[in-house]
């Protein structure tokens, strides 16, 4: 009964908060640099979103034939073609979106990230095969990074594995979670739905607490809603987590025509990271069974309470941020 109450509360909170606005689940340290061509081969560069470390500390390297003295960059007759690198990407600045606006033709966007610190500017005629490959490499890596750094998402998946165990039930549950977060990720990325970042993060924390409660119920011999309909719970909360994933893409200001592909590759990256985590957890469960190394009876409830405590700590912290912003 308590679990159903929690689920209702989460859904009510989510429904109350749905409104069109941008969102972010994990704060991404990023910057947006724009190069606008003012005459053939000559560009004016400016930071439209300054990185947190300050624009003067960004170690930007342009193709060797270009002379860069911000705000000016002169690439001569050859134009802006070749590799652009930022060598000091790190924990305080993980992503820079580079926009190149030529005199004629469409503006193009490139993402420089810690996973992919070099982008190749291809000049006229893009998008080409190279553009798509570069987009795939960048966003698959970005998706992997996002899920691996999202401790809340991983803890939720861990809770699901704990309740469901292995086998087909787990396959179905993880598939439902994937479908749920893919659907809401796409909807949020295309602006169909939008939830403010802070309440959303609080809801995500609450979803983990819900799973913690369900684990305790299962250990007491009660059959909770997750044990009965794991796919339904995974799908429902997958929707919430998916909107959180979309936040990572929302701040990058990608061109709309590149968004579907970026979204697809990002989702593939998220799935790769999630699958790697699930396989690792399953391998460790197998190893513990093989070694007959099980948690003693007195400590059986500890993991559930640990999951619940961490998630409630996150929940109250995130809730405080919601009220602080009002």
């Amino acid at each position: 009964m308590t679990a159903i109450r929690y689920l209702r509360l989460a859904l009510i909170l989510l429904a109350a908060l749905i409104q069109p606005s941008l969102l972010r689940a994990h704060e991404a340290a990023m910057g947006v640099l724009e190069f606008r061509e003012v005459r053939p081969g000559a560009f004016i560069g400016r930071w439209t979103m300054e990185p947190t470390i300050g624009p003067e500390r960004v170690d930007l390297r342009v193709p060797s034939h270009c002379l860069l003295r911000l705000p000016e960059m002169n690439c001569g007759q050859k134009g802006l073609v070749g590799p652009i690198t930022i060598t000091n990407l790190g924990s305080n600045m993980s992503v820079v979106l580079l926009k190149v606006i030529p005199i004629t033709g469409e503006a193009r966007s490139y993402t420089i990230s810690t996973a992919n610190p070099v982008v190749s500017i291809l000049g006229a005629g893009a998008p080409t095969l190279e553009t798509w490959l570069e987009l795939a490499k960048t966003y698959v890596n970005y998706g992997i990074d996002h899920i691996l750094l999202g401790a809340d998402h991983l803890l939720f998946v861990l809770g699901l594995i704990w309740i469901v165990g292995g086998g087909w039930r787990l396959v179905k549950t993880i598939t439902a979670f994937t479908i749920g977060h893919s659907a809401s990720l796409a909807a949020a990325a295309f602006g169909l739905i939008g939830v403010p970042e802070r309440p959303l993060n609080a809801c995500i924390a609450l979803s983990i607490a819900f799973v913690g409660v369900e684990i305790v119920k299962q250990q007491r011999g009660e059959i909770g809603i997750t044990a009965r309909y794991p796919w339904a719970v995974a799908f429902t909360f997958g929707l919430v987590h998916g909107i959180g994933f979309a936040g990572a893409l929302a701040g990058l200001g990608l061109e709309r025509r590149l968004l579907p592909a970026a979204l697809l590759f990002f989702n593939v990256g998220v799935e790769i990271g999630q699958l790697a985590f699930v396989l690792l957890v399953l391998a460790l469960i197998w190893a513990h069974r093989r070694l007959d190394a099980v948690v003693p009876r007195w400590g059986a409830a500890l993991p559930a309470y640990a999951i619940g405590s961490v998630s409630m700590f996150w929940f109250f912290g995130r809730l405080a941020r919601v009220f602080a912003a009002i």
Binding site: A287, H288, R290, A293
Partner: protein, 205 residues
């Protein structure tokens, strides 16, 4: 042909040994200090050989003895990391090589050592490697996250290696089990050889 393979091995080993600092920095920049701690041991051949050898030895001795290492090994890594921070990093090359030699010989001889001794050896190795892993941490590194990553990696690596070894060895003493025992003992011989070579290198340099 053998000479070509020899060159390849030396080249591969040299590349493997050289990767440490650069790879660790890339991991930290991309995924933060938790993953830097978790993946840092992969950048040092000594960690890979010693952790694997410890897991195989514990697995070869059987689950009842080996399972004690699940808490002992990560705890040793944390103690080593703390001691390294307090007392500073010391060169452990010879000690690592000696441990490799000892573990390899125990495996090759299929020695039945008591649980207490197994735990003491594993703890000593973990302390040494924990200190070594913490030696080249930058001032910007979040030590708590790094330590958590290292401990998780130690737990995962030792648990999986032990389980894989017990699964490989099986428990029945039929003919298939005997060649498996010989394979594990042969692996011990290789580990002892690596330890001997590394000890020679440490003494020579």
């Amino acid at each position: 042909m053998t000479s070509k393979f020899g060159h390849l091995w030396i080249l591969a080993a040299a590349l493997f040994v050289q990767t440490s600092a650069a790879e660790a920095h890339i991991v930290a920049a991309r995924l933060g200090d938790f993953y830097a701690g978790a993946l840092h041991p992969l950048t040092d051949l000594r960690d890979i050989v010693l952790w694997t050898a410890t897991g195989v030895l514990a697995g070869a001795l059987g689950a009842p003895k080996g399972r004690w290492l699940i808490p002992v090994f990560p705890l040793g890594l944390l103690v080593g990391l703390s001691l390294g921070r307090i007392f500073g990093a010391a060169s452990t090359q010879l000690a690592d090589a000696t441990m490799m030699l000892a573990l390899g010989m125990l495996l090759a001889a299929a020695a039945r050592i008591p649980t207490f001794l197994l735990c003491a050896i594993a703890f000593a190795i973990a302390v040494m490697r924990g200190a070594a892993n913490g030696a080249d941490l930058g001032p910007d590194t979040d030590r708590l996250l790094f330590a958590a990553g290292l401990a998780c990696a130690g737990y995962g690596a030792i648990t999986l290696t032990m389980a894989l070894t017990t699964a490989f060895k099986r428990t029945k003493s039929d003919s298939s089990a005997s060649w498996r025992t010989i394979a594990v003992r042969a692996l011990g011989g290789w580990i002892a050889s690596i330890g001997l070579m590394m000890a020679g290198l440490a003494l020579a340099s």
